[in-house]
Amino acid sequence: MGAHKLSIHPYIRLIFLIGSIAGTILINKPALLLLFYATLILPLFVFSGQIKKHINLLLFGMLPIFLSFVLLYIIVLNGNNGGWDFIVLKILKLSLFTSVVQITLSIPSDNLIHTFKKWRFNGDSLITVLGAFTVWADVNYRAGKIITARFSRGFIGKRTIINKAKQFPFVLVPLVIGILRTATERAESWEQKNILHLLENVEIEKSNYSIYLNALLLFVSICWSAFGVIYVTCF
């Protein structure tokens, strides 16, 4: 999942999220949005080792959207509902929103519990959200093994996409049966261990939050949203 070298404090994450989105909604000048992106968002992705993920977003996420915009607004509507300026602005805003959300929610494994606790998740909600970030690896792994089993029983002849897609429902049944069994046994185990009590009191190593990074993010987020307000009132 990439090297997470940046640790952002949970409160700063939220301020960063709200401030960036507020500013991005209010400011309508593409040049300014691009500046924000280039000076803050892009470096954040680079330094946290997630640049590959970001490029995936741009190539497989934003590019098709850009093409749909062109198809819809330029080709079909002949620019009557908005031309290239409109498209560029919308694309920039959408990229910024999505990137900011991605950064906010890309929490390094060590920081997960601390972050959610600071975000006021407790007891049931905390255990649920932590579980969601953890067990997908197990379900993925099992699905892989079940597909392997289909091969080993000779169900899949030629490895065509259609043949693979046909396996779908047959893979899901043992997968869900396994999930139900796991849920039941794990629930009993959690009760025996009094897991909620353990979770409440677990001591996780304190994360080192880089003061410079967090201060910078705080400063920039506040400035950006303030600038957004100024932009709207003056322009």
């Binding site: 999942m1 977003l57 996420g61 934003m62 590019l63 098709p64 959207i65 850009f66 093409l67 749909s68 915009f69 198809l71 819809l72 607004y73 080709i75 079909v76 509507l77 509902n81 908005g82 919308k90 959408l94 929103f97 999505t98 959300v101 991605q102 929610l105 049931d124 255990i127 649920t128 959200v129 579980g131 969601a132 970030f133 953890t134 067990v135 997908w136 197990d138 379900v139 993925n140 699905a143 996409i161 897609a165 779908f168 429902p169 899901l172 049944v173 997968l175 869900v176 049966i177 999930i179 139900l180 069994r181 796991t182 849920a183 039941t184 794990r186 629930a187 009993e188 959690w190 009760e191």
Partner: protein, 201 residues
């Protein structure tokens, strides 16, 4: 005392099941996306959780599922969390009335669910994406816009074209899965609508 124990057990079971159902939403959605099919199939976990545990748990699975999907696979999923709430509510209401009793009823439920999902997703598509979502739906939207010159109506129309197919497929898969599970494994899930659909006694 035994009632307390039962409800405590029920609560624990919901807590262990939700993350696993989230993984289902996320995993299946990822496979379908990788196959580049013009479908979503990203809510099976939500539908199953609602039928097993009720709409509240279904909503949590749906919302969490889309949040996790946004983090790991498709960052745009997070904009559509309201659709998950609508799915959970609808499946719960319809489930209580035996909407998943037979194949035919399930398909009908799926089609109606698709229409509702299209209605709930449309504002998001219009406001956030201006109709250009970068997938098959966007192509359809362009097609309809060419006919009518109206973006908003076209978004609804393309939704009504795709969603009923996608959602009835998902409901059928959920039906097929639940029918393939022996009743003794489903016995502990009493707060959903399994009984009304003859899936447990």
């Amino acid at each position: 005392m035994s009632m307390d124990k039962n409800s405590q057990q029920g609560r624990m079971l919901a807590l262990t099941f939700i993350p696993l159902a989230v993984a289902l939403n996320f995993g299946i959605g990822a496979i379908v996306k990788a196959l580049s099919l013009p479908l979503y199939v990203d809510s099976i976990g939500t539908i199953l959780a609602t039928l097993l545990l009720g709409w509240r748990m279904g909503t949590i699975v749906g919302v969490l599922g889309f949040v996790i999907t946004s983090v790991f696979i498709n960052p745009f999923a997070i904009y559509f969390v309201t659709t998950q709430l609508a799915i959970a509510l609808f499946v719960h209401i319809v489930g209580r009335r035996g909407g998943f009793k037979s194949v035919f009823k399930t398909i009908v439920s799926g089609v109606v669910l698709g229409i509702i999902a299209a209605i709930v997703s449309a504002p998001v598509i219009i406001l956030v994406f201006q109709g250009a979502t970068g997938n098959g739906a966007a192509l359809l939207t362009s097609f309809f816009t060419k006919m009518s010159n109206q973006i908003i109506n076209s978004v609804f129309l393309s939704g009504f074209s795709i969603e009923p197919i996608d959602k009835s497929l998902q409901c059928l898969l959920a039906f097929f899965i639940l029918k393939g599970i022996p009743k003794n494994l489903l016995e502990n899930f009493r707060s959903g609508s399994l009984k009304e659909n003859n899936m447990i006694d």
